[in-house]
Amino acid sequence: MKNTMKIFTVFTFLLITSFMIAQNDNRGFEIAQESEMADNGWNSSEMELMMTLKNKSGQETIRKLRGIMIEVENDGDKSLVVFDNPTDVKGTASLVYTHKTGSDDQWLYLPALKRIKRISSRNKSGPFMGSEFAFEDMASQEIEKYEHKFIEASKANDEECYLVERYPVDKKSGYKRQQVWFNKGNYRIEKIDYYDRKDQLIKTLTYSGYKSYKDKFWRADKMVMVNHRTGKETVIEYLFHRLDIGLTDNDFSQNSLKNVK
């Protein structure tokens, strides 16, 4: 019995690895994995950010949000985001349980109706608060959600990088592929080019103002998403970012959605 189990385990392992090799270019996957591993262990975090929406003529609209996140062992992160501005949606909050495989779980709290709504997370290509970020750009970037392919060593933000192409596994994704520049030294992401379903370059996201937290975790102060098709731009600036702050699962219950004001 024990032997059968062993053979079965080895066989399954071989099957899975060969499958992964077939699906993923090994080196691309390894780089993405390094990047994920380098960012393991921050436990929970808290942030406040400002989103500036710019249209073609340079008019600006400001949005403010706050959020908390927690790492989940063997699964995707959980996150809770609450809107402070515009004032008419103040207190609106979103809770997402990201999963490595399958669709994410998502709830929305509508303060005017005092109601928690479970919503479908399948439509991930829609814009986040009228910005140039789609819901899937804001979501936790689990490596299982992509197939990876190493392209070349390349420079981005004046940093030596690995350029890796990744293909979303989810057919509902708005993208055919993304080109991601991973920093050679610390595996943080410097830049992402987004290609739509017709394989046209539509958006570029650039990270800047990286800071090291707890001497280990790199977090960008600023993210700029440029839409090449519309000429619109969204800038995310972090007003503060704190890591390893001792949050627990209780802070991410459906009920807690009502309490983060």
Binding site: T87, D88, R115, S120, G126, K261
Partner: protein
């Protein structure tokens, strides 16, 4: 409405926190926000009753205050609501929607005070929603509710969320007055109100609700024991219409299942009161679709059957609802809602349209049309048959 002392109590409650917040010790949080606005309603038809007008201006004010201590374990929430109507002195009203202290410890949470709580999953009506009384003075959309004094205990575990409620001071349903519209036309004798229990509105109510999600399914079971929120009207010997509030035992279930871009929803209740047993349910399907340009389309249909039939003043006795929502997902959060409710028994059709758009950063403009077509004589809507209206509302958020 609540008596004036409530306002004084609330001010007394919040004042110390105002000075507290300015100290900025640790991470104490004190915030004030809300909206103030103006509404214009135009009724193209003359009213069914004398003294009713065609055009009404009103102003509205909804302030919130929120306080949280530095450990984030205690909070105080305050939400008030006030409307001043140009003609209808009974629609001119104010209420405390929320004024509660809340404390959390691990996965427990306790709230004490006045609170607004919503149960339910469906969109056209939530028959399971029973903690709060409707605010019919605001309209018949069932969205506006009066604050309920209560003690609430919530436990969130990995198995399920448990809510326990102890309530007193059952709030009474009020209708617009004779100078207003959307009024049933009869004079309701509020002073003769009958509560089945000798302690009247002070008789304590109890409720429990368990909720849980399993993969793509959300489910909740609840039980309420106490004073029914929806009154029935009795004719007494003097031929006056008097609201009667029964004591009830009501068990309810809520169910929602997400399947691809569809959401299937069910709400059902079983109610026992002295006179009879009542069964009611709502079933519905919602379909979500994103257009390539990021706009979101939602199409939904629901059906409600309620044994209370014509005595049910919410109107949802045997009704089919069809609705569509278009969210532009733009910077102004533009949205359009179109809906139709058809009463299978009385053939009344209610049409509704609502368009919403933010102007600048803090103004919100809404245009609403509400049409009542072909109301059957038996239907409650027959009493407001002339009250189709157009509404423009402009709110300033701060």
């Amino acid at each position: 409405m609540l008596n004036r002392n409530w306002l004084l109590v609330s001010i007394f409650f919040t004042l110390p926190f105002i000075s507290y917040g300015q100290d900025k010790v640790g991470k104490i949080k004190f915030e004030g926000f809300g909206y103030i606005g103006a509404d214009f309603r135009y009724f193209p038809q003359s009213g069914a009753y004398a003294d009713q007008k065609k055009a009404y201006f009103s102003s509205v004010f909804k302030p919130h205050f929120f306080f949280e201590n530095n450990t984030k374990k205690h909070q105080v929430n305050f939400t008030a609501f006030a409307r001043i109507d140009q003609f209808d002195t009974e629609r001119t009203h104010w209420d405390i929607r929320d004024l509660y202290w809340q404390s959390s410890f691990k996965n427990w949470e306790i709230s004490a005070g006045v609170k607004t709580v919503t149960w339910g999953k469906t969109e056209s009506v939530n028959i399971v929603d029973i903690i709060n009384q409707y605010d019919f003075l605001e309209g018949r959309s069932l969205e506006h509710k009066l604050g309920q004094p209560l003690l609430q205990l919530v436990n969130s575990s990995s198995l399920f969320t448990t809510e326990l409620y102890l309530m007193t001071y059952a709030r009474e349903l009020r209708f617009p007055g004779p100078l207003g519209r959307l009024t049933p036309g009869f004079k309701v004798e509020y002073t003769d109100v009958i509560f089945e229990e000798k302690n009247g509105k002070y008789k304590p109510d109890l409720a429990i609700r368990l909720s849980k999600y399993i993969n793509d399914i959300d489910i909740a079971v609840s039980h309420f024991y106490g004073t029914n929120r929806i009154p029935v009207f009795t004719n007494n010997p003097q031929m006056k219409l008097v609201p009667l509030y029964n004591q009830i035992n009501q068990t309810a279930i809520e169910f929602q299942w997400l399947v691809y871009d569809f959401a299937f929803k069910v709400e059902a209740i079983h109610q026992l009161n002295k006179r009879k047993n009542i069964q009611a349910f709502t079933i519905g399907v919602e379909y979500n679709y994103y257009l390539l340009n990021g706009k979101e389309v939602k199409v939904l249909t629901e059906y409600t059957y309620d044994e209370r039939g014509r005595e049910l003043i919410t109107g949802f006795n045997n009704d089919v609802f069809l609705g569509m929502v278009l969210n532009f997902n733009d910077i102004q959060s533009t949205s359009l809602n179109v809906g139709a409710i058809y009463d299978v028994d009385y053939h009344t059709t209610i049409l509704s349209f609502k368009g919403n758009r933010r102007i600048g950063d803090s103004w919100k403009l809404a245009a609403i049309f509400n049409g009542i077509l072909n109301p059957g004589k038996e239907d409650f809507y027959y009493r407001i048959r002339k009250d189709s209206y157009l509404e423009l509302s402009l709110l300033k958020y701060y």
